[in-house]
Amino acid sequence: MSGDGQPADAEPAATAGPAEANIPDDADVDVEDIDPEAADSSVEEDAKTVPAGLPLRVQNLRKQFGGITAVDGASFEVEEGSLTGLIGPNGAGKSTTFNCITGVHQADGGTVLFQGEDITGRKPHEIANRGLVRTFQIARELEAMTVLENLMLAPRGQVGERMLHSILPGLRGDVVAQETELRDRVWETLEFFEIDHLAEEYAGNLSGGQRKLLELARALMVEPDMLLLDEPFAGVNPSLEEKLLDRIHDLREQGYTFLLVEHDMDLIMENCEHVIVMHQGKVLAEGSAEDIRNNDQVIDAYLGDEI
């Protein structure tokens, strides 16, 4: 069962992802990391029942703080090119789930697969570099850096991030050339989000809504495959909210995948084709907005008299 079975079982999981090739080293480590028995069954099952195009798969995620269980065996999937909403009452474990997916917290159990690769317990920068980028609930702009600098920071694979390239006369030319290219992309992105008039402002001087736009723009500069947005509309005025939504829909049509944590039920119901409801650290229900609206459990647990 275990000896020969393992590599065979790991293969389909790795190839399930659309883009990344299977890296044998990683696959070995991954399989060793998880309980072989459990891993076999879940991976096997996924490979059989799930069609291609599920960039993010969360399986049985658990996280405890002290004696409190914040996430208690949550499992869900996000479809490629979808705008998926994650909702739930306060303390349902949404943010903790987010933090476990993005490596800010170490999960106590369970697996997170991105593009078929196990990213459980990876460090935040490793996860971002695989193409899974997040924004923060309270916009964390880099205050004493300008909007331009904020965006220039994000792109991956900048040669100038190697110190010697930035210092040495012969090599600095490459850095300048790449930065000139990036600058053009940055301006395009600023124009796309209509914050180009703020380009040279310090990020700290922006309004709450503008900061959210900046964060999304910055995340986009990483050229991710998938974006995790943590309450992107909190504290944003209605006109800016609409603008932000327009941009998210535009980007989705271009093929980006979104997972959205949000407090505002109506917003999620109107905009997301797939909705996941969390309650007390577990996934309570999953489906289209219509399914969720008609789900008795959800109504009992969360919506109550709101609808």
Partner: protein, 463 residues
């Protein structure tokens, strides 16, 4: 402070070079006038006194500018609150001194050539910095402060200990204290100190093995003719070498590090480490690199500074030295490279040497007016005279202590009222290109260049 800044002619504000040049000019004029005045009052040679004072103030301005620049990399750019600078300087100075000392000396060393010793000293300082960086990866700023100052004291106390001094070289003697690693024997000199790599770094330019070189033959007689002795020529040459060559190199290096994608990540670490990590930056690696480079620069600074006196002991590297360098950077403005240079110069000329100069001036004026100030020999004796002139005399006499009170007050004032220093609020954009330059395209109608994009709505502009 803003009033002072407004009074500066616009000419000097137009470029950084003019600003630094103007500041140096101001310092030189003040020092030349005051020291010339002293010489005349004391009937001494005015030219020699003035040149001598300019050499020493240039040296101090240069070393503080150099160190402030190195610290700016840690604190200004990356937000790493390293208050163990003195320790890393000590590592550089001691490592180079040990590498250069002859194997037969007391303490013994490795007998390597000077350039190798300098490079070695810098590398060792960088490696020790890398080790000290490990706590920097996980500690908050104030904990890092305590750890680094503790680290610096550990270095100083270790250098001071007689255990590794290398002064008792007879293996059978009871206090045998030569360090031996893989057969290489050396010692730190312990509390007695150690001979550094040089006591007159510029001598080789002017004096060969057999008398003065061509340069020496040209310069010495000319200097002598206007009353400047040879040692002063050497001091002056070294001071300007530090100011014009070394500080410029540090500045360019820092500018290149800062104005680049690398520097941008450092800034992001300072602002919010988690954001940098969430954007895919391995901030640990960046911090270790920055710590190593900064500590290497601090080590080099130490070698060029304390290493140029010919002799040094561990007490030179007390935490107060770190405090001086921090004050210089805070005065100039953390985060700004030009600010670091300006801060180094202002600190050296006005805060560090200023009180001494003022005291001498008061003393000289008093001497001219009524034959000198009374000089009570202790506080009690001064107080019981009930004579304000005697009190002034006591303070002038104790200006070395008064200086520290003044420095402390300046720091408190700056932290309360202007924590950005003189130039810390300037925008120095971290990029190798001018970011404000927009790509030239027909119109800014901008559908983002993305193929399948819909036209952006003309919705309300952000507030």
């Amino acid at each position: 402070m803003s009033r002072v800044w407004n009074a500066v002619p616009d000419f000097f504000k137009q470029s950084d070079l003019r600003m630094v040049g103007g500041l140096l000019l101001l310092v030189y004029v003040v020092y030349a006038l005051v020291n010339g005045f002293f010489a005349i009052v004391n009937n001494a040679g005015a030219v020699n006194a003035v040149v001598n004072s300019l050499a020493s103030i240039t040296f101090l301005m240069a070393v503080y500018a150099m160190m402030a620049l190195a610290l700016n990399l840690h604190w200004g750019y990356t937000g790493l609150f390293n208050i163990g600078i003195a320790g890393f300087m000590a590592v550089g100075v001691y490592a180079s001194a040990i590498l250069v000392a002859p194997p037969s000396g007391s303490p013994p060393g490795l007998g390597l050539p000077v350039p190798v010793a300098i490079v070695g000293g810098v590398l060792i300082a960088a490696i020790i910095g890398g080790i000290a960086a490990l706590p920097a990866l996980q500690l908050e700023a104030d904990y890092l402060a305590i750890v680094t100052v503790g680290f610096s004291e550990i270095i100083r106390l270790t250098l001071q200990a007689s255990h590794f001094a290398g002064t008792v070289q007879n293996p059978s003697a009871s206090g045998y204290n030569v360090v031996s690693i893989f057969g290489v024997e050396f010692g730190t000199g312990g509390g007695q100190g150690i001979t550094t790599i040089s006591n007159s770094p510029m001598e080789f330019l002017f004096e060969g093995e057999s008398g003065p070189t061509v340069l020496g033959q040209a310069v010495y007689p000319a200097a002598d003719a206007i009353g400047i002795p040879e040692p002063v020529v050497l001091d002056l040459a070294y001071a300007f070498f530090l100011l014009l060559v070394v500080v410029s190199l540090y500045y360019v290096l820092l500018l290149r590090i800062g104005n680049s994608p690398f520097g941008r990540v450092l800034k992001a670490i300072r602002e919010d480490d988690l954001v940098a990590r969430s954007l895919g930056k391995d901030t640990r690696g960046f911090k270790i690199k920055v710590f190593m480079v900064g500590c290497g620069l601090m080590g080099l600074g130490g070698i060029l500074w304390q290493g140029s006196f010919g002799f040094v002991n561990p007490n030179t590297f007390r935490p107060i030295l770190t405090f001086y360098i921090f004050t210089a950077l805070i005065v100039g403005g953390a985060g700004s490279n030009t600010g670091s240079v300006v801060g180094g110069a202002v600190f050296a000329a006005f805060l560090f040497e200023g009180p001494k100069l003022a005291a001498r001036l008061i003393d000289a004026v008093a001497q001219l007016l009524f034959g000198g100030l009374p000089a009570p020999n202790n506080f009690y004796a001064a107080v019981v005279t009930l004579n304000p002139i005697a009190w002034l005399g006591y303070l002038v006499e104790n200006v070395a202590s008064l200086k520290f009170v003044f420095l402390g007050a300046v720091i408190v004032y700056l932290m309360q009222n202007r924590s950005d220093g003189l130039l810390g609020d300037r925008k120095e954009i971290a990029s190798s290109v001018d970011l404000s330059q927009r790509p030239e395209r027909p119109s800014a109608a901008a559908d983002g260049g993305e193929p399948s994009d819909t036209a952006p709505s003309q919705g309300g502009e952000g507030s």
